[in-house]
Symmetry: D2
C-alpha cells in the first residue's frame, strides 16, 4: 500500500456541516490523512477546531495565508498533496486562487465563486498551473448517477428530449435565519453566499446533475426567482425553463421552502426510447423505463451495471450506501489522479464549477425573460 495523501483543510471548523462531511468522506476509504488546517476565519476558533481534530500545533493555523506560507516552506515530502476548501462561498475565490497559483491541488466546495469573471480566471489559472482541481458536486459520486450517465451515453434511452430536475428542501420555510442556525444565516446572506440563494446552494447541484448525466449544455434559460421568506433578499425558490443543446428542453426547480421535502434532488430524463428517474433520497435505485416495456428497478451493486457504476460501489445490493459514500467516491477518484499525476478521474472539475457560477449569474440576470446562456 502506498502512503496516505496529506491534506490541508481551509474552513470546516466546529459546527460547520460540510467540513465534517469532507472529513468523513476522506476517511472512509483510507486514502487521505488530514495533517494541516486553517479551520475558520476566526483565529481562535480555527486553532480550537484544529486541536480537536488532532492536528499538530505547527500545522494548525489561525488563517489560510499562514497555512499557505508554511506549506510553501516545507520540503516536498512533508507538504500536503491536496488543499480542501470548505469555507463559506465568498472566500472560495481568494483561497483557491492563491493555492492554485502556488501549484497546490485543490478540492473546493460549490458554488465555486461569486462571479463568472472570477470563475473564468480560475479556470485559466488551473490550466496554466496544470494542477488537479475538483469541485465537490457530490451527487455525481452516487453509483446510480454514474449508471444513468452511462446509459444515456450508450444510447439506451435514445436522443434525450426533456430533462426535469428538481431539488426541493423545506428547511427555510420558516424564518430559520433569524434563529441561531448557523447554516441558514450565511446561506441567506448575499455577501457570503453570492447572488443566488436556493439557486446557488442547491440549484447548482441540479444544473450539474443535468449536465453530468445528459452531457447537454444550456443554450437559453428563463428563470423565475422568488423570495418567500419575509425580509429575505436572496431567492429561496427558483423555477427555470431551459433550452438545451441538441433541441432538448428542460425544467429546473430549486426550492428551500418546500415543506415535506428534506433533501429531495430528483432527475428525470426522457429520451426517444426510454426514460430514467433517480432520487437522491433513495440513491441506491434507478428506474429505467424502456418504451412500451415495464419499468425496471436497477439497483446499486448489481452485476448488470456499467463498470463506471460498479467501481463506485463498496457493498453488495441491498446494503445501502449513502451521501458520505458518494462524496467519498469523488475523493477516491481524485486520489488516483493525485497519485498517478493524471487528470482522468471521475469527478467534477473546475469547468463544472464555472458552469455553475454562470448558471446562477444568468438565472439572476434572466429576470423572467429568455436569455442566452
Amino acid at each position: 500500500m502506498t502512503r496516505r495523501l496529506r491534506v490541508a483543510m481551509i474552513g470546516g471548523g466546529k459546527d460547520a456541516f460540510i467540513g465534517a462531511v469532507h472529513r468523513h468522506a476522506m476517511a472512509l476509504d483510507g486514502r487521505y490523512e488530514l495533517v494541516a488546517g486553517a479551520f475558520s476565519s476566526s483565529a481562535e476558533k480555527a486553532i480550537a477546531s484544529g486541536k480537536e481534530l488532532g492536528i499538530a500545533d505547527d500545522r494548525n493555523h489561525p488563517d489560510w495565508r499562514a497555512l499557505l506560507a508554511d506549506e510553501q516552506r516545507r520540503p516536498a515530502h512533508e507538504r500536503v498533496d491536496l488543499v480542501v476548501i470548505v469555507t463559506p462561498n465568498h472566500l472560495h475565490y481568494d483561497v483557491a486562487k492563491a493555492f492554485v497559483d502556488a501549484g497546490f491541488h485543490v478540492a473546493c466546495d460549490k458554488p465555486l465563486v461569486h462571479t463568472r469573471a472570477q470563475a473564468d480566471e480560475l479556470v485559466e489559472l488551473v490550466k496554466q498551473r496544470g494542477t488537479a482541481f475538483a469541485v465537490t458536486y457530490n451527487y455525481t459520486g452516487y453509483p446510480m448517477v454514474r449508471e444513468a450517465r452511462e446509459l444515456v451515453k450508450a444510447g439506451v434511452i435514445g436522443k434525450v428530449r426533456k430533462v426535469i430536475v428538481e431539488y426541493h428542501q423545506g428547511w427555510l420555510a420558516g424564518a430559520m435565519e433569524r434563529t441561531s442556525n448557523k447554516q441558514s444565516s450565511w446561506r441567506t446572506d448575499p455577501v457570503q453566499s453570492g447572488p443566488g440563494g436556493a439557486l446557488g446552494d442547491i440549484g447548482t447541484h441540479a444544473e450539474n446533475l443535468l449536465h453530468t448525466i445528459t452531457g447537454l449544455e444550456i443554450e437559453q434559460l428563463c428563470a423565475e426567482l422568488t423570495s418567500f421568506g419575509a425580509g429575505r433578499t436572496l431567492d429561496d425558490d427558483a423555477s427555470v425553463l431551459l433550452r438545451l443543446t441538441n433541441s432538448a428542453r428542460g425544467v429546473l426547480m430549486a426550492s428551500q421552502m418546500a415543506i415535506g421535502h428534506e433533501n429531495d434532488l430528483r432527475i428525470r430524463v426522457f429520451g426517444e426510447t426510454g426514460s430514467l428517474d433517480w432520487r437522491q433520497e433513495e440513491p441506491n435505485t434507478l428506474i429505467h423505463s424502456p418504451l412500451d416495456e415495464p419499468p425496471r428497478k436497477l439497483t446499486r451493486g448489481s452485476a448488470n451495471l456499467s463498470d463506471a457504476a460498479k467501481r463506485a460501489c463498496r457493498l453488495p445490493p441491498g446494503h445501502p450506501e449513502g451521501f458520505i459514500e458518494a462524496f467519498a467516491n469523488l475523493y477516491t477518484d481524485l486520489a488516483a489522479d493525485l497519485r498517478n499525476n493524471t487528470r482522468s478521474g471521475d469527478y467534477p472539475r473546475i469547468e463544472d464549477g464555472a458552469r455553475g457560477v454562470r448558471f446562477v449569474e444568468r438565472a439572476v440576470a434572466s429576470n423572467g425573460l429568455w436569455i442566452d446562456f
Copy 2:
C-alpha cells in the same frame, strides 16, 4: 327511491374511450339510465353503437340534431334529464350550445371548446337559461382531492406560496398517431382537438386541479410548448411558469412523451405552515406535511377526513376506489342538483371549462414570454 334520471349521450360510440367511462360512472351508483343517444358522427356507427348499448330504436339517432328534435317533441315525463357530450372536442361547441339553448342540462367533457369567444358565449347562455352544466374534470371527484381543497380552505397549510402540478403520460412517445390508435389520431389533430395538444388534453386537467384545490387564479403565465413527435403540429410537451393570485407562484408541466409515466397527474401545494402532495395513480392517499413535523399519510375512507371528502367515499379505508369512482362522484353530485333543481353540487361548472379554454389559448399565445392571463 326516486326514479333514475334519463340520459342522452352524444358521441361515445364503439371504441370511444371516454364515452364508456361516462357510462360506467353513471351506472355505478344507480342514479342514471341511458335512454337515448347519437353515438357517432357517422350515422351507421351511431345506430350500431346504440343497438349494442340497448337503446330503444326510436331514441337511437343517426345524429345529434335528430336527437335534439326528438327530445323537444317528447312530453316532459319522457324527455331526458341530462345530455352528456363526449364527442371529439371540435363538436362540443355546436352541440352544447344547441342543447343549452333548448333548456337541457348538460355534462360535457373537457376541454370545453376551442376558443375563448365560444367559451364566453356558452357561459353567458348557460347563465341565461339557468341550466345545470357540468364539465367533467373528473379528477376533482377523487375524495383526497376534495380533502386537499378543504385543508387549504381551512388554512391547515397556511398561505399558499407555490404549486407544482404535473401531468405526465408516455403514450405519445412513439408515433402513435400513424398507427391505427383512434385516440392518438384525433388528439394530435388541431382541427379536432383545438389549439392545444398535450396542453388541451391533459394540461387543462392540471390547471383545473390547481384551481380547484387552491382557489388561486392565474394572473400571468410563460409557456414553453414543444412538439417532439416527428411531423406533429400540436404540442406534446408543455412547461409553464405561473404567477398566481395572492403572490403565489406555480409550475405546470404536461407531457405525453414522458416514457415511464402512464397517467401521472401529481400536485404539490406548498404553504407557509405545511404542504400537500397528491398523485392520481395512488389516489387513495394524500400526504400532508406540517412544518417541522413528520409527514402524515391521510387515507380515503378515514374517520378524520372532512365531510366533503367523506361524502365522496363508498368504501372503508384500504379498499381502493379509482378513476371510475371519482368520475361517478361528479355524476352523483350533479344528480342531486338535477333532482332538487339546485346548482350547489360539488362538480366543475362551465366557468371552469371556460377557464381551461382560456388557459390553452393564453399558453399558446405566450410563445415563451410572460403574458397576462
Copy 3:
C-alpha cells in the same frame, strides 16, 4: 344488447357494508338489474331497505323464505336469474341450500358456511342441480391477480418454492365491538361468524388468493391463533405455517389488530426462476422479479399482459381501477355463464368456498400443531 339479468338479494340491507358493494359491482357494467330482495332478517328493516333500493312492493320480501316461494311461483320470464347471498355468515348455509335445491343460480359471500360438513353437502347439491354457484372471493377479480396466476401457470417464475400471503387490518386493534360498529359486533361473534375470527373474515381470502395464483393445495398446516382484544372469543390474529403440494412451503398471516394496515392483503410467490409480489392496496401493479435481472413493474391495462388479465380491464394504464371493479369482474364473468348456460367463467366456485371453510376448521383444530389438511 341482451336484457339485463334479474337479481334477488338476500341480506345487504341498510348499513350493511358488503351488500352495497355487491350492488355497485353489479351495476358497474350494466349486466344486472336488482328486482327482488329480502334484505334483512328483521322484516321491518328488510322492507324499508327494499323500498329505498327501489324494489317493487310485490318483490320486496320480509324474509328469504317468502322470496323463494314467490320466485318459484313466477313464470320463467319473470323469475330471477341469480340469487345473491350477503347475509351474516351463519345464514349462508340454510339460504344457499334452499335456493340451490330449488334450482337457482347463486352468488354467495365468503366464508361459505361454518362447517366442513355443510360445505361438502352444498358442493354435492350444486353438482346434482347443475346450477352456477359463485363465491365472491373478490380479490381474484383484480386484473393483476389474474396476471400473476397466468405467469405462474406459464412457468415464468419456475417451480413455486414458497408463498407468503398476509392480510393485515388494524380496525379491531381497539375494542370496536363494544362500540356501535355493526361490522365489528357480528364479526367477533362466533355464532354469527363461525369458528374463525380474523381467520374466517380475511384469512380465507388469503388462502384463496394463494390457491388461485399458484394452484397449490395445503397438505399440512400449523396454526397459531390469538385473541388480543380483551374478552374476545374469536381469533383476531393468526399465523399459519403451510406445507403445500409439490413440496412448496407457505406462511399465511391474518390479523385485524395490525395498526397502520388498513386492508393490506399482500402475496409474494417465490419460484425457482423468479418471484411475484402483489398488494391489494396498490392493485394496479404487480412486481415481477426474474432471477438475476432487475424487478419489473407490470401495470394493469398494459399491452403486454395476458388475455385473462386484459379481459378484466376497463381502462388504460394509469387510470386506477379498484375494489369495486375487481368485484364487478366476477359478476361479469358469472353473467356470461348465466347467459350461455356454461360453467367456464373466471370466478371462484363453491369448491373454493368449501376449501376456505376447511381451512378455518383445520386451522382452529391445529392448535399450534402440524396437522393434515
Copy 4:
C-alpha cells in the same frame, strides 16, 4: 483529540466481504487505526492481504496465534486496544476464547459460535476477564432502529402484541455455491457456518433486531426449515412462529432464495396503541402509525427524534446514511467504552451473540414442533 485506538484484525483478507466493511466502519469516524492482522487462515494470503492494507511487516502475521503471541509480548503503549474477529464462523470460538482469555477487548462478527455450550463458556469468560466484547449485529446501529427501540421503551405504541420480522435475500436462489462465489461456498457449508444456513447468517440478525427493539425474549418457538437449493444441507429458508415474553407473539422469516429481495430486513411491531415499521433497504425512515391516526414518516436526522437516535446521526435529514454508517455507530460507541473503560455503550454484547446461537440451536431442534427456548 485523543489518539486513535489500535486494532488487530483476524480474518478479513482479500475478497472477504465483511472484513472490508469493518475497516470502512472503523475508518469513517477516525477513531481507530488498523495496526496488526492475521488476515487469513492461509499464511500466504494472510501476509499478502496485510501488505496490501499497509500493515507493518512485524505486525502482519501468518496466523492468529502468532499475532496473539506477538501482542502479548509488546508493551502496553504498543499493544492493540481491540481485536476484531471476522473469520468464517467456525473459527470464532477458538479465536475469541484465546484473546478474551488473554485480556483483550474483542469485536466479533455474528453468529458468535456454533453451539450453545461454546457461547455460554465465552459469556462466562468475558464476565471473568471483564473485557469489552461487541458482537456486530450491525443493524442495531441504524438511528431509526434506535428510535424504534426508544419509542417502544417510552410506551408510545403501548404493550407490544405482535412482531413480524423478516429477512429476505435472493442471492442463493440459484446454485451459487457451485459457482466460484466465495461467500456462498462457506455460508452453505455446515462445517464452516454452523448448524444454521439462512437461519444463522441472517435469521440471527432478525432475532437480534426483534429483541433489541422490543426487549422481548423468546419463550417458545416452532420452526420450519427448508433447503430448496439442490444438494444443500443447510436451510436456505426458515419460517418460525414465536411465543414471546409478556404474552406477545411473533413470526420470524429468513430466506436466501427469495428472488426480488436483495437484503430486505424488515420489522413490524404491533402494540396496543400504535405500530412501527422499519426496512433496512430504506433505513432513514421509520413509519409510526398511532391508533386511529394517520401514519407518520419519521426520518433520520430530524429534530424530534430521541437522543439515542440523534447521537447516531452524522448528517441532516434527507442526506442518506447507510450500512457502513450504521456499522460505524457500533464502533463509535465501543470506542467510548474502550477509552473510558466503561461497559455502557450502545452496541450488542456477547450475551446477544449467545442468544443468537441459542436461537439457531433451538430452531434446528424444533423440527416443526413447539419447543421451549
